[in-house]
Symmetry: C2
Subunit: 335 residues, 2 copies
DNA sequence: GAAAATGTTGTAAACGATTGCGGATTTTGC
DNA sequence: GCAAAATCCGCAATCGTTTACAACATTTTC
């Protein structure tokens, strides 16, 4: 059939009009007369023409895609966010390119490269630790930060981290717990620090004080949750409840303590953060703070599109709500 | 500083050469004289020039990206594969576009759209149920199937599904189990069917027969594993062991039976499939069949690149090895 | 020392679309 | 019935590269 892929010229010839008219029929149908429009559409149909995105993008001085820069692609936390991003990008004709910042040697250089590469009309950045010089360059494409954020005034979409921590700790307190520990995220990460601060504030507010060795260093990974469990086991007086800065760490923690025969929640209560899918299927199902990942992705994409459209480098940061999901990993402590 | 983004013209002017020479310096440095080369590179440096990918792609009749078509982006199973794909694509200058096939209304049309969209030089398809007419079109870009495969002779990269099933069932048999059930993947899916067949063959080979209600319909999701558990609970004579066609279903199953106070593996043994990260942290840690997801991604990407390079629509299908990972979810049955 | 081979660079034509401008043609207003 | 306005469409330039071809200079070969 189609020996070659049809170009706009072929369509124009077939419909007996100029390429300009074909182009207009496809992009602004209202300006072309009904009869011609139909002729053109018929020709498009018969030739199986699809506009060549590359040529179109070149002429329109854009790329038609945005890049999501993710610290670690293998982390399932991001997949749902990507789905959210894609769901808004695709309908308006943008493609989603993905790249992991931590895969290569020096992440900052790679960010710079992406910023200048003219490969995308905008970026969504999931790694707040990156702060390339290139972000200062006024000629760069728009960037929005998702989840994390930076001191600079880059627009961002993030969740109510402090409130999430407060909800978690408050819930434990309300259930009678007074010995409440915490497993942190990686040092230097804004998420970790905000959640840690939220934990401290919530305790202080209620007049509860805790020894320093009840906060365990983690890095959001299951392994680090497991490591925290080892430390917890060695404590002479253990906290009766833990607020974990990520669900994954809660899973890691629960895995090792259960393996030791310790019961959750009877012997230790746990609250996670994120509400990743698996934690609802554990036994016990994990009580956690829900982050609406799809919504984060959607809002970040929408914000970025607006910025691209408006040709601006700034925009309104957005906060998405968290929610406490009560399941079975928290026990009431008898007074 | 840089008021406008520099073009190849700017560089040429600055270096006092033609644009052709600049282009050559950047792509085939060997053909330009050392002195000119250095002058050009210096000019590139001073102007901060980066080649405009869109223009380059247009001229070279390519797009510089490949699309990964994934049934469900929110499924963490794929993220590691994507990481693998990206790790081979990125170094050679290809971008990775992602799209989910099941997001919109009619997946087949969307596949066709992607095939014709001239948005990518090739596709990696993770959904073997799609069989668009467009695949017949000789003008389409190369496609490789990953994980799944089709009756057509599309090249594919997949794991040893049958052998995986055989390993799982064999292990259960060796541990003394004779009442072995199965939770299947979605109907009509090649993976489901191959694993189911592998399960049946392994049993037949050992002269074990099982009633039909010991194979439970699932769809790879945790929820379906949980549903299978409900059915299993209602059986009057229950299998003492289950081979689950996915880890996620094993997790779902384990969640509900443990919730009912049934012990794994003392009361029921489980073997999963995939070795997703979380199952190593459960209590008990899940015995499973490992699929090398990163490797699948890498090989699929490499295969596709070769096909793009060679301009062919076919290529050598590849099988990647599986491995039995013994953990704590299988108990020995006393003779 | 002429002819041939080799090496280096520039000229200019693509690649396939979009769009400002202006010329026809039709409609509207009076 | 005629000028003005509106509508529709084509011409041709343009986006930023790459690359066939030709031109010229320099060596090599015999």
């Amino acid at each position: 059939m189609d020996k070659k892929i049809a170009t706009i010229q072929d369509v124009a010839a077939r419909a007996g009009v100029s390429t300009a008219t074909v182009s207009r029929t496809l992009s602004k149908p209202s300006v072309v007369a009904k009869a011609t429009r139909e002729a053109v559409l018929a020709a498009v149909d018969r030739t199986g023409y699809r506009v060549n995105a590359t040529a179109s993008n070149l002429r329109r001085q854009r790329t038609g895609s945005v890049i999501a820069l993710i610290p670690n692609l293998a982390n399932p936390f991001f997949s749902q966010i990507l789905a959210g991003i894609n769901s808004v990008l695709h309908p308006v004709g943008y493609g989603l390119l993905i790249a992991d910042t931590q895969a290569g040697p020096n992440p900052e250089d790679r960010l710079s490269a992406y910023l200048q590469s003219s490969m995308a009309d905008g970026l969504i950045l999931f790694d707040g630790t990156l702060s390339a010089e290139a972000l200062k360059n006024p000629g760069r494409p728009p960037v929005v930060l998702a989840c994390e954020w930076m001191d600079d005034d880059l627009p961002s979409v993030r969740t109510e981290n402090a409130r999430g921590a407060a909800l978690a700790v408050g819930h434990l307190f309300d259930m009678g717990h007074r010995r409440i520990g915490h497993i942190t995220g990686p040092q230097g990460n804004v998420l970790s620090e905000t959640r840690l601060a939220g934990y401290r504030d919530a305790l202080a507010e209620r007049g509860v004080s805790t020894p320093p060795d009840w906060v365990f260093d983690g890095d959001f990974s299951m392994d680090s949750g497991a490591a925290a469990a080892q430390k917890w086991l060695q404590l002479e007086t253990r906290p009766t409840a833990l607020f974990c800065a990520s669900d994954e760490m809660a899973v890691g923690f629960m895995g090792v303590v259960q393996h030791r025969g310790i019961r959750v929640p009877e012997d230790v209560s746990l609250v996670g953060f994120d509400n990743i899918e698996v934690v609802g299927h554990l036994s016990p199902a994990l009580t956690t703070i829900r982050q609406r990942r799809t919504q984060i992705g959607e809002q970040a994409a929408r914000l970025l599109l607006d910025m691209i459209e408006a040709g601006t480098l700034t925009g309104p940061s957005q906060i998405v709500e968290v929610e406490l999901i009560c399941r079975d990993s928290v026990a009431r402590v008898p007074a």
